[in-house]
C-alpha cells in the first residue's frame, strides 16, 4: 500500500511559499549592502585590544538592528503584497530551543564575519564558502532549485574574485558580499514579477 500523497513534499509547502515570490532575495540585497557599510566603518576604527572589543560589540549590535528592521519590513511587505494575492500562511512560532539555536548561529556567523574581515587573504574564500553552502543547503532543504543555483553562482563569483582579480582581504570580502547581494536582488526580481503576474489582486467584496 502506498500513501496517497507525498506528505514530505506537501509539508515543505509553507517554507517554500515564503521564498518562492523572490522577496527574500530582493531584501537580501540591501541587507548585504548595509553589512558592507557597517564592516567598512568598523575597519576605520583604530586597532587595539579595547577598540577591537568595542568595534566587535558595536558592529554586531548595529548589524543585528539592521537585520531585525529588514525582517520587520519583510513581514510588512509580505502582508501587503504576497498574502492578498497568493494566500496567507503563518509559520509555527519558534520554540524556545530553536530561538536559542538561532541566536547561537547568529553569534557564530557574526564572529566568523568579523574575523573574516580581519584575517586578510582568507576573507574571500571563507565568505564564499559560508554564502554558497548556506544558499545551496537552503535550496535543497525547501526544494527550490533557484536558491540552490544562487549558491553555485556565489561560488562562481568567489572563484572569480579570488583567482582573477587583485582584490584580497576585507576589500575582496566586501566586493564579494556586494556582488552576491546585487545578484540575489536581481535574480529575486524575476520570480517576484512572475508571482505578481500569476496572482493578480482579488477584487474587493463588500462586507
Amino acid at each position: 500500500m502506498e500513501p496517497p500523497v507525498d506528505i514530505d513534499a506537501v509539508e515543505s509547502h509553507a517554507s517554500r511559499y515564503w521564498m518562492e515570490d523572490g522577496l527574500v532575495e530582493i531584501l537580501l540585497g540591501p541587507l548585504m549592502s548595509v553589512s558592507i557599510g557597517v564592516f567598512w566603518a568598523a575597519g576605520a576604527i583604530p586597532r587595539g585590544h579595547s577598540t577591537d572589543l568595542v568595534s566587535l560589540g558595536g558592529v554586531q549590535t548595529l548589524w543585528l538592528a539592521v537585520m531585525l528592521s529588514i525582517l520587520w519590513g519583510f513581514k510588512k511587505l509580505k502582508a501587503r503584497v504576497t498574502f492578498p494575492r497568493g494566500g496567507y500562511v503563518a509559520l509555527p512560532k519558534p520554540t524556545k530551543m530553536s530561538r536559542i539555536c538561532m541566536f547561537a548561529l547568529y553569534a557564530v556567523f557574526a564572529v566568523i564575519f568579523h574575523f573574516t574581515f580581519t584575517l586578510g587573504d582568507t576573507a574571500v574564500p571563507v565568505a564564499t564558502v559560508i554564502f554558497a553552502v548556506g544558499l545551496a543547503v537552503l535550496g535543497l532543504q525547501i526544494k527550490l532549485a533557484r536558491i540552490a543555483w544562487e549558491g553555485v553562482l556565489t561560488l562562481g563569483i568567489g572563484v572569480y574574485l579570488y583567482w582573477f582579480t587583485a582584490l584580497k582581504g576585507s576589500q575582496g570580502g566586501a566586493v564579494l558580499i556586494g556582488m552576491v547581494g546585487s545578484s540575489l536582488a536581481i535574480i529575486g526580481a524575476l520570480p517576484f514579477r512572475r508571482f505578481l503576474k500569476a496572482h493578480p489582486l482579488r477584487p474587493e467584496t463588500e462586507a
Binding site: 509539508e11 515543505s12 509547502h13 511559499y17 492578498p84 497568493g86 494566500g87 482579488r202
Partner: protein, 109 residues
C-alpha cells in the same frame, strides 16, 4: 497493525491536513492554491474535517475582504501523527523471520 483513519487517508483531505500540520494557520486562498482543488471541493473537505473535530475554521475579514482561517487543532495533529505512524508500519517490511524454509533446487540441465 493499527487501523488507518479513513477520513485522513482520502488524498485531498490528507493533502489539506499535511499542509496544515506544517503551519500555525493558513487561509482558504492558500489552501486552494496549494491543493489545486475547486472552491466547492475544498469547502466540502474542510467541513468534513471540522465535523470530525480535526480543524478549527474562523471566518473573519481583512479590511472588506472575507478571510477564512483554518487551523489544525491538537486532536487533528494527534490523528495525523497516528495516521503517519500506521502508514509507516504498513510500509516497513516486517522484521520477523520468515517461516518458509528455503530448499536448494537442482535445476535441470
Amino acid at each position: 497493525m493499527s487501523e488507518l483513519d479513513r477520513l485522513i487517508h482520502e488524498p485531498a483531505r490528507l493533502t489539506i491536513i499535511a499542509l496544515l500540520s506544517s503551519v500555525k494557520e493558513a487561509d482558504f486562498l492558500d489552501l486552494l492554491r496549494a491543493t489545486g482543488l475547486t472552491k466547492g471541493n475544498l469547502s466540502t473537505h474542510l467541513v468534513r474535517l471540522e465535523e470530525a473535530g480535526y480543524v478549527n475554521i474562523e471566518k473573519t475579514f481583512r479590511g472588506k475582504i472575507p478571510l477564512t482561517l483554518v487551523r489544525l487543532n491538537s486532536v487533528g495533529r494527534a490523528a495525523f501523527q497516528s495516521y503517519r505512524k500506521s502508514m509507516k508500519e504498513i510500509l516497513t517490511p516486517s522484521k520477523a523471520p520468515s517461516k518458509v524454509r528455503r530448499v536448494p533446487v537442482q535445476l535441470p540441465t
